[in-house]
């Protein structure tokens, strides 16, 4: 039985006999399942969704809990991890159309109705198309000429060159620039938030100041007079009061346990929420709607 199935699903590299028939059959089979789901009575729909949700989670749960062969640390489900991950990313990738459709709809509508700001929609569409086209050309035929050379003005431009222009010149630089905006914001946020207006704000400020002093030259200079070693060669207990050591102690002895406490709560919350989703126990508008 298993053998027949394996044989049926075996890859057919040379597109041998029945390849196209099997393609059609596969499509037909899946559409038949979808049709059957659609024909199922309305009140069964919640059950169907719960079933598929459970199925989705069951693989990883079973793969984790099923006892393994001690030599390989694998069980009979382990070899399929790549397949499951592949299926999820392929099916998930089909959803990109959802995003692209809604965006293109919005921007073409702006453009067609000449709404205020339609120029920006035009810019968006031009760069979107350019990136898509030259990106794909770069993947398939990077060397093909896009702009022929005009002697004295510019050299020939191939798809790879244009992709580099858009990707390196545009995308990565714009990304870094957006990231760099945070430097400004962190300064103004520090100025505004670190006030002695409450105990909590004061604690926030003191800890931040200690760490800041501990990480720049003029901060460490303040306490560089405390030598780590005494004259007799033994360690100097007062060296613990060097600012960088206080900062380090703060990170290790205060920040680490606090983060751990948060982590316990967060991961238990994650466990509980995951269990509710997996077993379809979740509540809320989305989950209680009549289908």
């Amino acid at each position: 039985m298993l053998h027949t199935l394996q044989h049926f699903f075996a890859p057919m590299p040379g597109h041998g006999a029945w390849y196209f028939e099997k393609l059609a059959l596969g499509l037909l089979f899946m559409f038949a399942i979808l049709g059957a789901l659609q024909l199922a009575p309305r009140r069964a729909r919640k059950g169907i969704i719960a079933f598929f949700t459970f199925l989705g989670g069951a693989y990883y749960a079973a793969e984790f809990f099923w006892p393994t062969n001690s030599a390989t640390n694998q069980n009979f489900l382990t070899p399929y991890q790549d397949t499951v991950a592949g299926l999820a990313s392929v099916v998930g990738s089909f959803a990109i159309g959802l995003g692209v459709i809604s965006l293109l709809q919005n921007h073409t509508r702006q453009l067609a109705r000449r709404r205020p700001g339609w120029g920006y929609s035009a810019i968006f569409l031009v760069f979107f198309l350019a990136m898509t086209v030259f990106g794909l050309m770069n993947a398939y035929s990077a060397k093909s000429t896009v702009i022929p050379a005009v002697p004295g003005f510019w050299a020939r431009q191939d798809a790879h060159g244009l992709f580099q222009f858009l990707f390196v010149g545009g995308l990565t630089n714009l990304g870094s620039a957006t990231f760099a905006m945070i430097a400004f914001y962190i300064a103004s946020a520090a100025y505004r938030a670190f006030r002695i207006r409450s105990l909590e704000a004061t604690l926030l400020m003191i800890a931040a100041l200690i760490i800041m002093f501990g990480s720049v030259s003029f901060g460490t200079w303040l306490t560089h007079g405390i030598h780590p070693v005494l004259a007799d060669g033994s360690e100097n207990p007062w060296a613990n009061l060097r600012i960088e050591n206080i900062a380090q102690w703060l990170m290790l002895q205060v920040n680490t346990p606090a983060q751990r406490g948060i982590l316990f709560g967060l991961t238990l919350g994650l466990l509980a929420t995951s269990l509710r989703y997996w077993l379809s126990l979740e509540r809320g508008a989305y989950f209680e709607k009549e289908l």
């Binding site: 659609q38 990136m131 545009g170 630089n173 905006m181 800890a207």
Partner: protein, 227 residues
């Protein structure tokens, strides 16, 4: 002449103009920013599309199905189509089936995550040396007593912080009990102190990025800065 040509190097010019446009937002929203925001969004969406095709769909789906003859991949197409049910009244519910599969996939991975990520943190809270009784002194240590005292104090502090933070995050036990209430309050103070430390230690990396952007403009592009 060579310098002018360098200034108009398309990749550098694009990057420099874009950088200045994006950074201008911090002062005031303006057209220059708006133009490059839309350039950025357009490029990013195009790249998403291209990236999804070249790194996921082409190798895992198209090449596998067409070149390697793994015909069964065709069966993913109808499943993917279920997403688009949200555009119709009749098939909307179908999208929930495939959303549900994804909810499940995410939820099912939680057991391994919990065992692998959390349990080690539990054991690290007492191992290897979070003992509340100090180990015997190392012979010949001139500060033996000091080391023992700091060992015990540090470990008590560590434990106290973990406990008070956890107590702060208890929701169901009515915090009318004075001891519980006070511990939770201490937990909140400790949290604030820890958050301050995180804030302080993030500043350097963020500033380094801005310094790097300035280096890009004034060294890579304008060549006004040497070195």
């Amino acid at each position: 002449m060579e310098y002018i040509r360098h200034l108009f190097n398309p990749i550098l010019l694009f990057g420099a103009l874009g950088t200045m446009a994006i950074l201008s937002l911090v002062f005031k929203e303006n057209r220059f920013y708006r133009v490059f925001e839309h350039v950025f969004l357009g490029l990013a969406l195009g790249y998403d599309l291209e990236f999804t095709w070249t790194t996921i769909l082409r190798p895992l789906f198209w090449d596998a199905m067409v070149r390697d003859g793994q015909w069964a991949w065709v069966m993913t197409v109808p499943v993917g189509l279920m997403f688009y049910g949200i555009y119709t009244q009749r098939f909307t519910w179908m999208s929930r089936v495939v959303f549900g599969i994804f909810f499940g996939l995410n939820a099912g991975a939680v057991f391994q995550d919990f065992a692998g990520r959390v349990v080690p943190q539990v054991t690290k809270s007492f191992l290897p040396s979070k003992s509340l009784i100090p180990p015997p002194p190392i012979p010949g240590d001139p500060h033996a007593l000091l080391h023992q005292i700091s060992f015990v104090l540090n470990n008590f502090l560590f434990l106290g912080i973990v406990v008070s933070v956890l107590v702060y995050f208890l929701f169901a036990f009515e915090q009318k009990n004075k001891a519980v209430l006070r511990t939770a309050q201490i937990g909140r103070w400790v949290l604030m102190f820890a958050f301050g430390a995180i804030f302080g230690s993030t500043i350097m990396t963020r500033m380094a990025l801005l310094i790097d952007r300035m280096y890009f403009i004034f060294h890579d592009w304008l060549r006004l800065v040497k070195g």
